[in-house]
């Protein structure tokens, strides 16, 4: 496995191991910290003992599901970013930039506004369909007897702008409260519960592991369409399947957290910087790093002006933009 990686990168198992440890520590920290200051033994009681009702409710029913949702959202968006950057062979691609988030957000918010009280389990499929719809639009716009990565990216930018404008229009004409609208457009995790965790988990488990397994095909695609065909790959079919995976991952994330920008763009770069361009390693690493990033960012979102909170998407944008610039400078 190492021979495919770039020479200076670290060994894959050690980096994956370190990233798993980082995720576990982030989750432990996020469950321990909150606007209510609980002592470590009360956090422990909340997790394993039902005797302390307040601690149980705070740790088990408020913090834990929210932290898990944050981790799953981060993993999904980062994996979607790896897939889309690989498929388009464009380092600027990502679920937000290519319009998948916009399509998912538009579908989700239309369902919520048109049919208030829709149970959460119907919002994720709607967002999935919206993301696929956006992908089809982007694909259709970019198709000229084949897909050029550059055209795909340009069509994506235009489609993203269109769907975000449409979502804003639906939100502006609805009677939703300004704060809820802001939280959706920027990406927020206020009051996420076990229902939300249950809603996104199947997508992460099924499509996420599918994406990790299929990540090897991205290595072949990276060689160029002609070489990939020469190696026996059905290029267009593979590309379409990977885009559908990305749509599922993006749609489920948007349904529970709104339109979080930057994560799907930045995290794949960070993963490649650490382990090189072998997608079989960088894909699972990106999932772990993305999960840790959102869990940590959500701690900041909950604590910085506690007991009030800010949308987590604002934290990821504030952290993500400078990190992205730094990555660009160190890589060139």
């Amino acid at each position: 496995m190492r021979k495919l990686g770039v020479g200076r990168s670290l060994s894959a198992p050690s980096v994956i191991g370190a990233a798993s440890l980082l995720l576990l520590c982030s989750i432990a920290l996020a469950v321990s910290l909150g606007s209510a200051r609980l002592s470590p033994d009360r956090v422990f009681d909340g997790l394993f003992d039902t005797g302390d009702a307040a601690a149980r409710q705070i740790v088990w029913n408020l913090r834990l599901p929210r932290v898990l949702v944050a981790a799953l959202v981060g993993a999904n968006l980062s994996l979607a970013g790896v897939l889309l950057q690989g498929v388009t062979r464009n380092p600027l691609a990502g679920p937000h930039v290519l319009g998948l988030s916009g399509g998912a957000g538009f579908a989700a918010i239309t369902v919520v506004v048109a049919a208030p009280g829709t149970p959460v389990q119907f919002v994720a499929p709607a967002a999935f369909i919206g993301a696929i719809g956006a992908a089809i639009v982007v694909y259709g716009l970019a198709w000229r007897g084949g897909i050029s990565p550059v055209r795909f990216a340009l069509a994506g930018v235009a489609t993203a702008a269109l769907f975000i404008a449409l979502s804003t229009a639906v939100l502006a004409s609805s009677d939703l409260f300004t704060q809820s609208v802001l939280s959706f457009l920027a990406g927020g995790l206020f009051a996420r519960d076990w229902d939300d965790a249950r809603q996104i988990a199947p997508y992460t488990i099924l499509i996420g592991s599918g994406a990790v397994i299929a990540a090897g095909t991205l290595n072949v695609l990276a060689l160029g369409d002609d070489v990939a065909r020469g190696l026996g790959m059905r290029v267009e079919r593979t590309r379409l399947l990977l885009v559908v995976f990305a749509a599922g991952l993006t749609g489920s994330a948007v349904a529970v957290s709104g339109m979080l920008a930057f994560v799907g763009l930045v995290v794949p770069h960070a993963a490649r910087l650490l382990v090189g361009s072998d997608h079989r390693v960088s894909a699972p690493l990106a999932a772990l790093l993305g999960a840790s990033l959102i869990v940590l960012a959500d701690i900041v979102a909950r604590l910085v002006i506690a007991p009030a909170e800010i949308p987590v998407g604002i934290v990821t944008a504030v952290v993500g933009a400078p990190v992205f610039l730094l990555l660009i400078r160190t890589r060139t």
């Binding site: 606007s35 209510a36 409710q57 009051a191 009030a308 909170e309």
Partner: protein, 324 residues
């Protein structure tokens, strides 16, 4: 042997049913006898009550530790003679509540902090927090949450009276309700037989404002005070229930005689009323030439619909029909 055990169990079962029936009678009886007496009405617990969102909530015992999650809720609680142990971030009325611990802003209350304070009742806002009802029930599982609030003047008395029943302080609550009704009477007598002035209510900033319809809270107060809302037949547009967006041409066409404004933004800056008076666009409106452009208190008329609306209603009547 088995038969004996069976009969024994049967006897216990029958006994339990009889006892339950007896208990039920003894609970029901006092409320029936208490009603005609009417000298001092008391609440019997456990109390099951329907709140302003129509949710049925059971309260086991007289609440001792009450947390309010909006400015309206805390003002209504104090008007009913109750006290809170914590407040939402922007709750500063009545006097003294500003020093209570804050549980965060109304739009995203920190359920963790509420739970840590161990309340036995949470009073939430039906109009500002109704969309969070599911999150409240989930986040505060096991703690009774009652939604109260006001979209109309009469809702204030309804909410206060509901709190009065819940905290077993119905006399104070009824007195507060009577005061609200008395002010309404007084205002009616002031406008009686006079022509209603055409009123425009603007809310926001000079370049970005919404116009209040009669079914907004401030719109309801203006109607009760005897004003004729120029936006009466406009459809609701934009994201605020009870508000619409009117073009400047449409406003000029209605030529309001009185303009009332609620200013968005920090209280230190110029009010929307000042800006309307300076703006050449509005210079020819009757309200501007007559100098009848007034800024309204943002809390009383918008952010904290509650018992202070009585003084708000009085002030409106004075603005519309001249003081005394």
């Amino acid at each position: 042997m088995d038969n004996q055990r069976f009969i024994g169990l049967l006897a216990i079962g029958v006994g339990a049913v009889v006892m339950l029936a007896a208990c039920k009678d003894s609970i029901a009886a006092p409320t029936e006898t208490a009603a005609p007496a009417a000298t001092e009405v008391h609440t019997t617990y456990p109390l099951t009550i329907r709140d302003l969102l129509g949710r049925e909530v059971t309260i086991a015992a007289p609440p001792q530790r009450i947390i309010t999650t909006s400015p309206s809720a805390i003002e209504m609680l104090y008007a009913a003679g109750g006290e809170a142990i914590a407040r939402s971030e922007t709750s500063v009325h009545p006097d003294g509540v500003a020093s209570l611990p804050s549980i965060g802003p109304s739009y995203s209350p920190a359920f963790e902090n509420i739970l840590e304070l161990g309340p036995d009742l949470v009073l939430a806002d039906a109009s500002a927090q109704g969309h969070l009802a599911k999150a409240f029930d989930y986040g505060l599982r096991g703690i009774p949450v009652i939604f109260i609030g006001a979209v109309e003047y009469e809702d204030i008395a309804t909410s206060i009276s509901l709190i009065g029943v819940i905290i077993d302080n119905q006399e104070t609550a009824d007195a507060a309700g009577a005061e609200l009704a008395a002010v309404l009477e007084e205002v009616h007598s002031l406008s009686k037989g006079k022509t209603s002035p055409r009123v425009l209510i603007m809310n926001g900033a000079i370049s970005d404002f919404f116009v209040a319809l009669p079914d907004s809270f401030v719109g309801n107060l203006v109607t009760l005070a005897g004003g004729e809302n120029v936006a009466t037949n406009q459809p609701q547009t934009g994201r605020y229930p009870g508000y619409t967006q009117l073009s400047i041409e449409a406003i000029v066409e209605t030529n309001p005689q009185v303009i009332l404004t609620i200013t968005a933004g920090p209280p230190s800056g110029s009010t929307l009323a000042d800006l309307v008076l300076e703006d050449p666009t509005y210079a020819n409106l009757a309200a501007v030439t007559d100098g009848r452009v007034h800024n309204l208190d943002v809390e009383i008329y918008l952010q904290a619909p509650g018992p202070r609306a009585a003084e708000g209603l009085r002030a409106l009547a004075a603005l519309l029909f001249g003081a005394e």
